[in-house]
């Protein structure tokens, strides 16, 4: 499977490319006042409006740096209402890697505070951890961003 790689803090993470729509530059977003923490704002995307989550902010408490390599990954959000999309603001989304599904192993450490962290795979001397899109949003965040829908 193809992983789109990015960085949170110093560690590398990956998103399954099958659920992604496109990768965009980190264009200015419309801030949404009163939105739950982690929500970076709203993006006008292809004649629709989609919420954007700052993964760096969600995981580390600091917003993503404003660099060219910081990008918005637009993904189909299956845990929301049908057809819903979500933007993920991530740092250093400059690379993608094809990994064999068998190469992915369970990290062996439960992360109840970060349920979205999935399996890990070795990539060179580093480890890449898969971020599970379906488990990314907490219940509060999901209810706030996709009211009245989802499982």
């Amino acid at each position: 499977m193809l992983l789109v790689l990015f960085r949170i803090g110093a560690e590398r993470y990956g998103l399954d490319a099958r659920s992604l729509v496109e990768v965009l530059p980190a264009v200015p977003l419309r801030p949404q006042r009163g939105a739950p923490a982690g929500c970076a704002g709203l993006l006008a995307h292809r004649e629709r409006t989609i919420p954007v989550i700052d993964l760096t902010l969600m995981a580390t408490g600091k917003p993503a740096a404003q660099r060219l390599s910081t990008r918005i990954v637009v993904a189909n959000y299956r845990a929301g209402p049908p057809g819903s999309r979500i933007g993920l603001l991530v740092e250093e989304a400059t690379d993608a890697r094809e990994v064999a599904a068998e190469a992915l192993v369970d990290p062996g450490i439960a992360t109840p505070d970060a349920p979205y962290l999935g399996k890990v795979v070795g990539e060179g001397e580093r480890l890449v951890q898969v971020v599970e899109l379906d488990r990314l949003l907490s219940r509060e965040l999901r209810d706030a961003l996709f009211p009245g829908g989802g499982s």
């Binding site: 496109e22 530059p25 980190a26 264009v27 006008a44 995307h45 292809r46 660099r67 060219l68």
Partner: protein, 218 residues
Amino acid sequence: MTDTAAPCFDRIGIWGDRSCPLLVQHVHCRNCETYASTGRSLLEQPAPAGYLGEWRERVARKDSATERESLRSLMVFRLGSEWLALPTAAVREVADPLPIRRLPHRDDPRLRGLVNLRGEVLPCVDLARLLGSAPPAGKQDRAWERMLVIEREGDAWAFLVDEVEGIRRVTGGQLRRPPATVEEGAAGFTEFVFSGSRGDVGLLEEALVFHGLKEVCR
């Protein structure tokens, strides 16, 4: 590699004195991870002025790539007064009209005979009759007449058309369903209708046309 020194590919790499030990393995610096990460480090800086604003506008608009995906390439031609189209992928060739040899003991008016296309013998059908539309009235404008060769799964047929307009690219949004009340003639074979440069064009349903052709040549 430090910021002050020239990058390694300029010193010991392919653009330097080529003494880098990794060059044996990579042959060219562009295959080396150091070169790739140097290139990627160019992205570790703020976006140039105006860049993100321009992208914001572009992202808000409809995606032209998805529109391109739904583009269909169609060969538009005329039979009598009717403009019709077939998917370009089904058309093998547009040729000058060839002499048609009639087949003895085949009195199906839809099968006009055989043509010899550069040594290949092809059945030639009367598409207007096959579609059940009125035979073209008046043959004054013969200068435009062409022979279309269409092919599917290795079987090829030829038929005469009164004019070939050419290839049109049509988006899915331009295609309309033909009026349900019209079932006469070519309308039964028409999958969609779209506006052409000289009136409405009926896009023939490829599967139905080829099915009809096979019936004729059985």
